[in-house]
């Protein structure tokens, strides 16, 4: 089936193949090699959508990523919003519809894979047009490690859109030879469909490869859909080409109005006639090619309207082909609704516009010159300079390790681009001290036609009597010359402010066609040079990149590492409910059938307080500190004295920052004179190791001490409760577990069937408890032995929730939950853990600040709701009544807040820990906690609510 606007021949599409797709519900066909845009145009369809604010019909206005018009929503094969019809490759089953500027994200999970690859090269060449191919060949021939990336489906760049010849043959033959040569070079990575979208420091470039998008449903599932290439290049050659720039005039947004170069692309690359009757409006010579090529393909070219009074030397060529050339004329406006029907053409001299007459057309091609694609150069912090002749911004300085070549550097003729690409690559090689190859010939080009200077024309004065309110600068944002005039009238001078005021350049195309126009129009309105206006900042990404691609494989379970203990499978089988503690998966509680969390936790707590419980405490941070000066280091970092600890003993310690505030707590086992095992909180493990390293390396490099994490080398099982001695004694008959032989805060090494085991009498619950340490390989076996031995006593595995209740009942704080970086050991009631003997330790000097002696500092206390029923939400504020029992007027002063709050089996009532101003002085008082709009009276108590005498720890 032939589409009505398909040229009879030409193009790089596969005419033998047919692709069926759906657009706006209509089934259409195209050919393999089409884009959605070229297939729509081949079917005579220019309009894609209506505009976001004004609802004006909008269509395909360019042929690639610079298109401000043809936004589509993809529905099949997978919903994806805000793509350009010009960059979507056609495939069977593609379903899309036009978008008025806003799309819809998929509401189903994306099952496609995305990944990332790191790559290191000597020379990265961005762009596989004439300059880029020449550069890549030069670098490859010299034996350099090269990456060549290009965003199109095939190499060739501008050659794909034209009829140029090299070495007396079609230029694309040369391009094909170049690609083949690169493919034969083992050190070359050549990627098409790959957009370099970000350029960063030290030669770091991010590129997005679209690997299977063009295959549609046929995409193999095992291949990632898109890949982010993280390329580190010693040297970069940018050959990113140029974007054609429109000229602004009234009603310049109608479907059927497109860039002149885009029409050539649609014709030569896709074999599509974008219209039947064309008017070409230009300020430079390049659009003459479009006029002549379309004419040859059978399009009636009604007129070439050249704004330059002297026109172009190519006038004769046109007239010979039967094309009328109107020099010194401009398009002042258009007619038509869903498609342009007439161009209004008027004489133009010295900035003045004469009376206009309408010329019928269904295609109005526009060229206002070319903007070098300097985005990546600018992202790498290269300064731009305005070129008066081109009316464009060019790289304005040399950057180390980055060379801009070809039309990206303002070189627009084919011979010049080839030579410039080669020059750029040679400069890169020289900088890398890589000798260029002896044989590095460039293809022969026909003698170039000397072009006439372009006219820099940003906009045609509005003659319609309007105020520029239909002269669109940024079609996607519906922003017009009138909007810019309003911004300038409001006093805005900076191009960055005007961008934000008008929203120009903030749409998906990021101002590829509108940015420089805006600079020019602003300069004109302000009467200042364009150089002084400058451009807005170019930021990555150059083209939109899906979050899914940026996330790559770091999503779902791979978003963050999951750490599990050696017992994880056992916990799962036991029906544990897990909670995330940092990266760890920890059992929170083990519900039995019919139990909710509250019931399960009350049961687990009661078991530990009255019988025996067992916890998987393997996530506890463990740091092995070794060396003759190990004790010195720990003395300087802990608030209490560690050096006096005897081998075989354990001491609780607190660490503070230099500001004197608690950063971690835990126990220290002295393993030998020169060796300690430091136990940190689960969350503090990495931080405290870093803290020790920092001090040891930066302040006390003279200390002979080494610290290493052994968290994963030991599993830890606290066996807790009055019957724990029976259980541990039964499993380790060789150990005298009596209180006399194995007192509180000591440790013993033993073996179990030849496996080394360490036992420690440490309690985080206040109960008699033994911590069992063993190599993780034996975790399950030892755990099982303990369970078996505990069965007669009803041994009960418990999770972190019960652990928290048990420790809170004893007033043991959790650093980071009951403290927040403003809490000193004294505030926690731990003055006993602060050495008075040591001359100094980290944090000591800060304790002497007057603020630390303020009696109104917040102190850790217990709270008992008087109603014996309310579980105070953690984080609740604590407030005080006035002496007369009235609530103070708002804002009600806050005394502090609830830090931990649980239901207690032991107390048979809920309780809480809180940081309260002058809390210890308030013990016995009643304060109030607002809960869901009511004030709950609570009694202030000491922080130790269970066994304050400590009678239970020895069983």
């Amino acid at each position: 089936m032939t589409s009505p606007f398909r040229a009879p021949e030409g193009g790089r599409i596969d005419r033998a193949g047919t692709v069926e797709f759906t657009f706006d519900g209509q089934v259409l066909t195209g050919h393999p090699g089409d884009t959605l845009a070229s297939a729509l145009l081949a079917n005579g369809r220019h309009q894609v959508a209506t505009s976001i604010k004004l609802g004006r019909p909008r269509g395909i206005a360019a042929a690639w990523a610079e298109d401000p018009g043809g936004l589509v929503q993809i529905e099949e094969p997978f919903p994806e919003p805000m793509l350009l019809a010009t960059t979507v490759e056609l495939h069977d089953g593609l379903a899309a519809h036009g978008l008025p500027g806003q799309g819809r994200l998929a509401d189903v999970p994306d099952s496609a894979r995305y990944d990332a690859v790191h790559h290191h090269v000597d020379v990265l060449v961005v762009g596989a047009g004439p300059a880029g191919l020449a550069a890549a060949l030069t670098a490859a021939r010299a034996g350099a490690r090269v990456a060549l990336v290009d965003e199109q489906s095939e190499a060739g760049g501008s050659l794909l859109s034209g009829t140029e010849r090299l070495d007396d043959a079609p230029a694309l033959d040369w391009a094909a030879d170049a690609v083949a040569e690169l493919a034969g070079s083992p050190e070359v990575l050549h990627l098409q469909r790959t957009t370099a979208f970000g350029s960063y420091d030290d030669g770091f470039v991010l590129a997005l490869e679209r690997r299977t998008d063009h295959l549609g449903a046929a995409a193999p599932k095992h291949v990632s859909r898109q890949r982010v290439w993280r390329i580190r290049a010693r040297s970069i050659v940018l050959a990113t080409g140029a974007h054609e720039r429109p000229v602004v005039f009234a009603d310049n947004d109608r479907p059927g109005i497109m860039l002149a170069g885009a029409a050539r692309t649609f014709l030569h690359r896709y074999g599509v006639l974008p219209g039947r009757e064309a008017v070409v409006f230009t300020t430079n010579d390049s659009a003459y090619d479009a006029a002549l090529d379309l004419r040859r393909a059978g399009v009636r070219v009604q007129a070439v309207v050249d704004a330059r009074p002297e026109g172009s030397p190519r006038r004769e060529e046109c007239e010979h082909a039967g094309i009328r050339v109107l020099s010194g004329a401009v398009v002042t406006g258009t007619q038509g609704v869903e498609r342009v029907t007439h161009a209004l053409v008027a004489p133009f001299a010295d900035g003045a516009v004469g009376p206009s007459s309408a010329i019928a057309c269904d295609l109005l091609l526009v060229s206002g010159g070319w903007n070098p694609a300097v985005h990546l150069f600018s992202q790498a912090r290269g300064r731009l300079r305005y070129d008066e002749v081109l009316g464009a911004f060019l790289p304005g300085e040399a950057l180390d390790g980055l060379t801009v070549t070809g039309s990206a550097a303002g070189v627009f003729d084919l011979a010049g681009c080839l030579a410039d690409g080669q020059r750029g690559a040679r400069a890169a090689l020289t900088a890398l001290a890589i000798a260029p190859a002896g044989e590095d010939r460039l293809p022969a080009t026909p003698d170039p036609v000397v072009p006439t200077a372009p006219l820099v024309l940003w906009r045609v004065p509005d003659t319609s009597g309007a105020d520029g309110s239909t002269s669109f600068v940024d079609l996607q944002r519906d922003a017009t010359v009138a909007d810019i005039a309003r911004a300038v009238g409001a006093g805005l001078r900076s191009i960055e402010h005007i961008k934000r005021y008008t929203t120009i350049g903030t749409a998906h195309d990021q101002g590829k066609t509108s940015g420089v126009l805006t600079s020019g129009i602003v300069a004109e309105l302000l009467g200042i040079p364009v150089q002084a206006t400058g451009t807005t900042t170019f930021r990555p990404p150059y083209t939109p990149v899906a979050f899914a691609a940026l996330a790559g494989r770091d999503r779902g379970r791979l978003f963050d590492p999951e750490r599990v203990t050696a017992l994880h499978e056992w916990h799962v089988a036991a029906g544990a409910v897990f909670e995330d503690v940092g990266q760890w998966k920890r059992p929170r509680y083990y519900p039995q059938p019919g139990e909710d969390m509250q019931t399960a936790v009350l049961r687990e707590c009661a078991a530990a307080r009255t019988g025996v419980g067992i916890l998987d405490g393997s996530t506890l941070g463990k740091i092995d500190v070794q060396g003759p000066d190990a004790a010195v280091l720990l003395d300087r970092l802990y608030t209490n004295l560690i050096s006096s600890l005897k081998v075989g003993s354990v001491r609780y310690g607190v660490m503070c920052g230099v500001d004197g505030m608690v950063i971690d707590d835990g126990t220290v086992l002295r393993l030998a004179e020169d060796r300690f095992l430091v136990l940190t909180t689960t969350g503090g493990a990495a931080k405290i190791l870093d803290w020790m390293e920092e001090w040891a390396q930066t302040e006390w490099p003279d200390l002979r001490v080494h610290c290493t994490s052994v968290t994963e080398q030991w599993v830890t099982f606290p066996v807790v409760g009055p019957r724990s001695r029976d259980v541990v004694g039964a499993v380790f008959p060789g150990v005298d577990v009596s209180n006399e032989a194995f007192p509180f805060m000591t440790w013993r090494d033993t073996t179990l069937d030849g496996v080394p085991v360490r036992l420690a009498r440490i309690s985080f619950s206040g109960e008699l408890a033994f911590e069992v340490y063993v190599n993780p390989w034996y975790a399950v076996a030892v755990w099982q032995r303990l369970l078996d031995a505990g069965r007669p006593y009803g041994i009960t595995p418990y999770g972190t929730e019960t652990m928290h209740v048990l420790r809170a009942e004893k007033g043991y704080p959790i650093v980071g939950q009951d403290t927040d970086g403003t809490v000193s050991p004294h505030d926690l009631g731990m003055a006993w853990a602060v050495s008075k003997k040591k001359p100094d330790f980290v944090g000591k000097r800060s304790f002497a600040r007057p603020a630390n002696a303020d009696p109104l500092r917040k102190q850790l206390v217990g709270l008992l709701p008087v109603d014996r029923e309310t579980v105070l939400p953690e984080g609740s504020q604590v407030i005080d009544f006035l002496a007369d029992g009235q609530l103070p007027p708002p804002p009600v002063p806050m005394l502090g807040h609830v830090t931990s709050s649980y239901r207690s089996a032991e107390l048979a009532r809920p309780f809480a820990l809180a940081l309260v101003k002058g809390g210890r002085e308030r013990i016995g008082d009643t304060v109030h906690v607002p809960v869901n709009g009511t004030l709950v009276p609570v009694e202030v108590t000491g922080s130790v609510l269970v066994d304050p005498e400590g009678a239970r720890r020895d069983g």
């Binding site: 960063y200 420091d201 030290d202 770091f204 580190r232 230099v658 500001d659 870093d690 390293e693 920092e694 390396q697 930066t698 302040e699 490099p701 001359p839 100094d840 000591k844 000097r845 800060s846 002497a848 600040r849 007057p850």
Partner: protein, 104 residues
């Protein structure tokens, strides 16, 4: 993303490093002898120059060693890196750098 030259590992990706603030602010010899104000200057006060700055860096996802660097805060560029035991310490070259943590 910059490459930072670890003195032990050579140039590595910026994400492997963590920042440690101003270099050459040593822990005072005798904190107890300092006034509250002098102590506060050690704990809280750091320079914030525009231009060259001596900084501490840690190759935290690599060799885990601390080192010093001279970096330009306006361009972010590293001028050089040096080991903590480098006798040519950057602090002696930077007029703005504090020699002791004690003087405000």
């Amino acid at each position: 993303m910059q490459l930072i030259a670890c003195p032990w590992c050579g140039p590595r990706e910026e994400v492997e490093f963590s920042y440690g603030g101003q270099a050459h602010v040593p822990y005072p010899d005798s904190p107890a002898e300092l006034s509250d104000e002098e102590w506060a200057h050690y704990v809280f006060f750091r320079d914030n120059p525009k231009g060259r700055f001596a900084e501490r860096w840690n190759h935290s996802a690599g060799c885990r060693r601390w080192f010093n660097a001279i970096r330009d805060t306006t361009t972010y560029r590293f001028e050089r890196v040096y080991r903590l035991d480098d006798p040519k310490r950057g602090g002696t070259e930077l007029a703005s750098s504090r020699k002791e943590g004690t003087a405000p």
